[in-house]
Subunit: 204 residues, 2 copies
Amino acid sequence: MVHECRHDSASTGRVRAAKGRPIFEQGGPAHPAFVIEAGCVSLSTTDPGGRRVVVTFLFSGDTLCAGVHDSWASAVAVTDCILRRAPDAQAALRPGGSLLAASDDLLREVVTRFAQLAHLDAPDQLRWFFHWLARRTGRLAGQMVELPMSRRDIADFLAIAPETVSRAMRTLEERGELRRKGLHLCQLTFGRRRDACPDAVAVP
Amino acid sequence: MVHECRHDSASTGRVRAAKGRPIFEQGGPAHPAFVIEAGCVSLSTTDPGGRRVVVTFLFSGDTLCAGVHDSWASAVAVTDCILRRAPDAQAALRPGGSLLAASDDLLREVVTRFAQLAHLDAPDQLRWFFHWLARRTGRLAGQMVELPMSRRDIADFLAIAPETVSRAMRTLEERGELRRKGLHLCQLTFGRRRDACPDAVAVP
DNA sequence: CGGCGATTTGAATTACATCAATCTAGGTGG
DNA sequence: CCACCTAGATTGATGTAATTCAAATCGCCG
């Protein structure tokens, strides 16, 4: 079921997945939910035209699941990851349990993102993405944010071309909204833009 | 909680909603799920820029719910509707119960749509929409399909401009893929296009 | 240090949004 | 029953932003 992953002692239920390795595949049987202990996982599907669409990125503390009966998405380790099987599949299914909560959260999140991104241009989408990422990874607004994923991952997440991601970054940088340190570190200076700021609540 | 709707005798739990009337509003408290007995309901949100985004259309037999704790979307009657409260909120929450199933289905559906529409041009999106609609309303491929919703509703569903919907319809018509009878009846002649055909399984 | 993939940059094309005008259908009232 | 009236739908013209193809540069890892 779980491919290309090393299991620690069977008792701990921990699973390691190396960067770039699949955790489960779209169309396969559903898995007990995992909780991510460390690392970043992408949840993606492939559309009929063969293009990849990243549904979401999941981080430390998030619950990883994609379908109760069969998997509607593939999960791939963006960085080296440590996963833990969710304690009890039945418990997870209870109202208030982690699976229903995770499903509800993911639905909300996908719908919200879909709605918010639909009518924004590329730089605004990218600013949205940075705020989203900062919030999900527990960074304060204005703090340095790590970008563990590739430009293509970001592009497939926002459903735009990688070249457009590149240009949008430059645009934000030229506007003075963004500062870059290498390819995988970004700092969002205080965004004046009132819109396109998803629940810009600092998470301490 | 339920606005602008007439209730039949309290015992039946039936609710009528006239065309264009709201059933519940985004941001309000969550409602017990409804089952649609007749008519068409739009589930929509308003993005920060004030633009409407139609998350989905629901039809006879579908379960209507948007959020376990509070409503993340508004429900509006596209046509005159008859709704029935879901039998038991607790039952609905059980694994296999209608609420979890509906939530899972909606998540799947939204993700699938998001993935499939992301990279299609307007005529392909519209063809997708007609197939989707035919399937959802139990029409055979090639049969006449009713379009209860306005062009703007379709536009907000596909996240394109109403004018683009209009032009895309004309394009499909000129290609010989679509035949129109009035504003609200369409027939999709056999689509050769291999792609953009979502689970084109005939529902008898 | 060298090689290779990822990223960035450039130029040309295309598709969509927008604004504005016209047309149509459905509903209303005389 | 018919003429009007209005909101919705269509059509047209234009600007713009994103994709695409192509080339150059950068960064990482062996």
